[in-house]
Structures are given as structure tokens and as C-alpha cells.
């Protein structure tokens, strides 16, 4: 173990406490929404009632893409991105690379949204930042992801904010390791019969210690993603390419080869998808066509990591002849340490390298991180509550955020289920979150005590959770369990059960809170000093 001197340990305890307390509330919001967003795909399928069985890339797409090509102005034929949207529908972004008003590289073009029968539902024109907003059928999962990624703060400030939160988490995780003098003993120390605060401290310590490696990985990869485009790429481009971000991007992600601008129609995309599926055993997650309509066109097929691997798979095809060229790393032209390192950052952060199992573990550990953040802040506040009256309000604010955020998220899910059939989910999903959050804040102001506030928010969240499956079935018109299971979507039934169980657990937990003697709160401060 690392044994620091007394003064150094004291400094690390202060760093650990302050890193959490200064940004803990925002960090809790990012971690909680990130935990839920681990299942964003499943939540999207559950909320919008997805029952299509086949990936869009397992069906013919070539004729559809040629039809879209004929409709698209030639200036956007430079490149095409193809990916799945909604219930195995197709998203196709025909675009060109250009510089925005500030000289930053951007993509501008036309984004077609098609259903799984090839019918165009919507066409949007603009830059990539403008066209890839939430849709009516994915407003809920989009809202979750956007909250996690940038807390709805406009770019680049939102990404910078979550990046700083990631650094705070990194500091808390590293200082957490340094202040444990008996790390392995602490993993198993849970004194259930001790005073309430010692029990709370043990729980914080045990949950924190078990999830320390995970916290470190999440904070590290999360900071990387937040700072990658906002600070990292411009700085590295400045140092290595005199500020030319396009040159850096081409060096890292490009497919170098001799230029051949002769106009040649793109090869058969169905042949490419079939070959990619036969090589990897699963449908692509994304197809990127560069130099579309030229003799030197390339098609890159991206896939999730294989069962025994953590690095995503990418296959390169000759676009004009639709023939396989080679497997390539997701970053760089040949396998390298840097390419592997950059390639595994995504799977490590999203936990999507071993199917539902790894994501379930990531969800559980994310939940543990929420618990650690909450209990850590609560211990800090309780220990100092008697020193300043304002800390009583901080304790109440902590309760509003900790229990009000899940309430707001479940309210936004309920609003999504009610308004999606009307086509207004993009507006009402975040609006319901704001209304519920305002309600939670109001409750925080008027509630007679912190315990009553906790109780109220738990009951409200639990009640909405219990109602969610009913809204999905009877208001949103979602599939029943038999239909969902027959369509290979058991996750819909599983999430229904999960919401009801979690709802009952919260309501029962609130009743338990009511029965806990108030002396617990009274002894909390004294015991915190122990």
C-alpha cells in the first residue's frame, strides 16, 4: 500500500473532500445520467416500442442509397454516412467537408431519415451540428445522452464542463486510493451495528473502494472524450500541423492512397454489407463512404468489438468495385499502440465490449458511483453542519439534486410516452424534466424537514416509475410482452419489470425513512467526528 506522511495524508483528505463537494452535485448528475445512458439503446427500444428484428444492414440498402443519391444535389456527394436510427431504420447523411465561420472543420449536407421499409420520414439540411438533434421517436434517449455528455450547455462549454467534472472525479479517485491506509481491509469492513454515521462511512468506503478502478477508468475516458475535440485536437494540430485540424484528422483517421477523381458510380453496397457480416458475424454499426462517386472511393464498415476482444472492428472496402481491401484499426492505417489505445477508449467508457453483461456491470458500478458521490457529500455536510447555518441548506440542496434528478428523469420518460404519439416528444421530454425539477426545488423550499423532503421525492419517483409501463402500453400504444418477446425484444418486458420493482423499492424505502427514529439525524453530527 502507499503510505503517505501524516501531512500528506491530511492534504489528500482535503483534496478528496473538496474535489467532491465543489463539483459533486454536477458530477452526480453526469454519473447518474451516464449510468442510465449505458442502456440508452434499450431505453430507446422500450420507450418507442421497437419490434423490427433485422438490422437495416441485413436488408438490401443499395437501391435505397442510389435513390437518395439521385435526389441529392451534387455538391453533397463528397461523402455519405449510413447508420441505423429508430426501429432499425436508416439514417443517411450526404455531405461535404468545409470550414465554418470560425475556420473549424465541419460537415454540411442533407440528412435523410428513413423507416425500416425504406420510406423517407424526414429530410434535414444543414451542418452536422444542426441536423443531428433529437427525433420524436428517440427524444428520451437523446435527452439522457445529451444531459450526460454536456449537461445541455452549448458546445464547447458543455463539453469543457463535463471534462472538468471528469478531472474532479479523477482527483477524487486517486486521492481516495492514497488516503486508504488499509485498502484491502476497507473493502470488507461494514460495521452494521455501529453508530449511524459510522455505518454511512463504512458504506461510502466499501462502495467507493470496490468501484475505485471503475471510477478511475470512467473519469479518465470521460475527460478524454470531453477534451478530445474541444482542446486536445486543436492543441495537437497546432503543435504538429501548424493548426491545420483537417491535416491531423487525415493523418489519424484517413485512408491514404493515390487520388483518382474520375467519376465512377459507387459499387454494390449490399455486397459490402453481406461481406462485412460474413467476416465479423454481425451487422455494421456504421458505414462511412469517402470520395463518393469517384474511382478512389472507400467504404469503411465499423463493428462492435468481437466476443473475445475489447477493440472495435473496422473493415476497409474499395468503394468503386465493392471489394474487400483489409481489416484496419479504427484509428491509423496499420495496427499500432496509439491506434489500439484510442480504439479501446470508447468500449471502456460505454462498457459495450461484451454485450449486455458488460453493460449490466457498468450500470451497477455506475450506480455505485452515484451512491459514493451522494454519501461522500452527505458525510462532508453532516460533519460541518453545526459550524454554519448555510450548510443545512446545502444538505437540503443535496437532497433536492440526489432525489429530484431521478424524479425529473422519470417525469421526462412519462412525458415522452404521453406525447410521442402526438409528435411533440422533442419539446415535452425536456420540458417535463424542467417542470419536475422546479417541483423538486419548490418541495426543497417548503418541506418541513430534510427527511420529509427525501420521503416525498422518493415516493413521487417511485409512483411515476410504477406508472411508466402502463403509460407505455395504454397511452403510447407500445407492444405487449408477448409481441415484444416474439420480436426478440425481451428488454421491453425486462424494463417494465425493472421500473415496477424499482418503484416499489423506492416507495417502501420512503416508508422505512419515515420509521427511522429522528435521533439518527441528531447523532449523525457527533458520530461523524468519530
Amino acid at each position: 500500500m502507499i503510505h503517505l506522511k501524516k501531512e500528506e495524508t491530511k492534504a489528500m483528505v482535503a483534496v478528496h473532500g473538496w474535489s467532491g463537494i465543489l463539483l459533486g452535485l454536477l458530477l452526480y448528475a453526469v454519473v447518474l445520467t451516464g449510468t442510465v445512458a449505458v442502456f440508452a439503446h434499450e431505453i430507446g427500444a422500450w420507450s418507442a416500442g421497437h419490434v423490427a428484428r433485422e438490422s437495416i444492414f441485413e436488408k438490401p440498402i443499395d437501391a435505397t442509397v442510389r435513390r437518395l443519391t439521385a435526389m441529392t444535389p451534387p455538391q453533397y456527394h463528397e461523402a455519405v454516412n449510413l447508420f441505423e436510427i429508430g426501429d432499425h431504420g436508416l439514417g443517411a447523411f450526404f455531405h461535404r467537408h468545409e470550414l465554418d465561420a470560425e475556420g473549424a472543420p465541419t460537415e454540411s449536407g442533407i440528412y435523410y431519415q428513413l423507416d425500416n421499409t425504406g420510406r423517407i420520414n424526414r429530410t434535414v439540411q444543414g451542418t452536422d451540428e444542426e441536423v443531428f438533434g433529437p427525433r420524436n421517436d428517440d427524444a428520451l434517449s437523446s435527452f439522457l445522452v445529451d444531459t450526460h455528455v454536456r449537461l445541455h450547455v452549448p458546445n464547447p462549454w458543455g463539453l469543457l464542463l463535463t471534462g472538468i467534472l471528469g478531472l474532479a472525479m479523477l482527483v477524487a479517485a486517486i486521492s481516495g486510493v492514497l488516503i486508504h491506509r488499509h485498502l484491502f481491509k476497507d473493502i470488507f469492513t461494514l460495521r452494521r451495528r455501529a453508530s449511524p454515521v459510522l455505518v454511512d462511512r463504512d458504506k461510502h468506503s466499501v462502495a467507493g473502494t470496490w468501484s475505485l478502478p471503475f471510477a478511475f477508468i470512467l473519469a479518465f475516458t470521460g475527460s478524454f472524450f470531453s477534451f478530445f475535440g474541444t482542446i486536445g485536437v486543436p492543441v495537437v494540430a497546432m503543435a504538429a500541423f501548424s493548426g491545420d485540424v483537417e491535416a491531423l484528422s487525415e493523418a489519424v483517421f484517413g485512408n491514404p492512397g493515390p487520388a483518382d477523381p474520375r467519376p465512377v458510380a459507387i459499387g454494390n453496397l449490399d455486397r459490402i454489407t453481406a461481406d462485412a457480416i460474413s467476416r465479423t458475424g454481425e451487422a455494421p454499426t456504421f458505414l462511412a463512404i469517402e470520395k463518393f462517386g469517384r474511382a478512389d472511393a472507400t467504404v469503411t464498415s465499423f463493428h462492435n468489438p468481437k466476443a473475445s476482444d475489447i477493440e472495435p472492428v473496422a473493415l476497409l472496402y474499395n468503394g468503386a468495385t465493392a471489394t474487400f481491401v483489409r481489416a484496419k484499426p479504427t484509428v491509423g492505417t496499420t495496427p499500432s499502440a496509439g491506434g489500439t489505445l484510442a480504439g479501446i477508449m470508447g468500449p471502456l467508457h460505454f462498457g459495450n465490449f461484451a454485450g449486455i453483461l458488460s453493460r449490466a456491470i457498468w450500470f451497477g458500478l455506475g450506480f455505485a458511483m452515484c451512491y459514493v458521490t451522494f454519501t461522500g457529500m452527505r458525510l462532508w455536510v453532516v460533519r460541518r453542519k453545526d459550524e454554519a447555518r448555510s450548510l443545512a441548506w446545502l444538505e437540503r440542496t443535496l437532497t433536492v439534486v440526489t432525489f429530484g434528478l431521478p424524479f425529473g428523469l422519470t417525469a421526462s420518460a412519462a412525458a415522452f410516452l404521453v406525447t410521442m404519439p402526438m409528435g411533440s416528444a422533442v419539446f415535452w421530454t425536456p420540458a417535463a424534466f424542467l417542470i419536475a425539477s422546479a417541483g423538486a426545488i419548490l418541495a426543497g423550499v417548503v418541506a418541513p424537514s430534510n427527511d420529509r423532503l427525501t420521503q416525498l421525492l422518493k415516493v413521487a419517483t417511485g409512483a411515476v416509475m410504477i406508472v411508466l409501463p402502463l403509460l407505455r402500453l395504454f397511452v403510447s400504444g407500445g407492444p405487449g410482452w408477448n409481441e415484444a418477446i416474439a420480436a426478440d425484444q425481451p428488454i421491453i418486458a425486462a424494463l417494465d419489470v425493472a421500473f415496477v420493482v424499482a418503484g416499489i423499492w423506492l416507495v417502501r424505502g420512503a416508508r422505512t425513512t419515515e420509521s427511522v427514529p429522528r435521533r439518527r439525524t441528531a447523532t449523525l453530527g457527533a458520530a461523524a467526528e468519530a
Binding site: 503517505l4 501531512e7 500528506e8 492534504a11 489528500m12 483534496v15 471528469g166 478531472l167 479523477l170 482527483v171 486517486i174 486521492s175 473519469a219 479518465f220 475527460s223 478524454f224 477534451f227 478530445f228 482542446i231 486536445g232 485536437v233 492543441v235 495537437v236 497546432m238 503543435a239 504538429a240 500541423f241 501548424s242 491531423l248 493523418a251 489519424v252 484499426p329 484509428v331 491509423g332 492505417t333 496499420t334 495496427p335 499500432s336 499502440a337 496509439g338 491506434g339 489505445l341 484510442a342 477508449m345
Partner: protein, 72 residues
């Protein structure tokens, strides 16, 4: 770092490593600042790193160190 790290097998390690390890590099500097009892030493290390890397970038701009371009 892009100017002095080796490019590796794909010629991109010098570009990717600084991007990936930026949070860890920051954390190392942060904990050094917290744990080193000599504030002068902390300032000296930070200033030395700043000057070395600032100098490399400046020399790149005046055309004396086109290392990254050669690596491509």
C-alpha cells in the same frame, strides 16, 4: 509531445498519446503540486515543462522542427 514522441508503427503514436493521456498528465502535475512541500520546486517543474514545450511549438512555427510532417 507530438514533436518529440516517436510515431510508432502507424506514425500516429506521437499524435494520439498526448490526446489520450492529457487527463493523466494533468493529474500527475496536480498531485505533484499537492504533495510536494516545496512550492518553488512545483513552480520550477511547471515552468520547465512549459518552456520546453512552448519552445518546441515556437520552433515548429518558425520552421526549425518539421518532425511531425516528416513522420507522415
Amino acid at each position: 509531445m507530438p514533436l518529440w514522441l516517436p510515431g510508432g508503427a502507424a506514425g500516429i503514436d506521437n499524435l494520439v498519446f498526448p490526446l489520450v493521456f492529457a487527463p493523466l498528465i494533468w493529474a500527475i502535475l496536480f498531485f505533484h503540486a499537492c504533495l510536494d512541500r516545496s512550492i518553488a520546486r512545483v513552480a520550477l517543474v511547471a515552468a520547465a515543462l512549459f518552456l520546453i514545450h512552448g519552445g518546441l511549438v515556437a520552433s515548429r512555427f518558425i520552421g526549425e522542427a518539421p518532425a511531425a510532417e516528416k513522420a507522415q
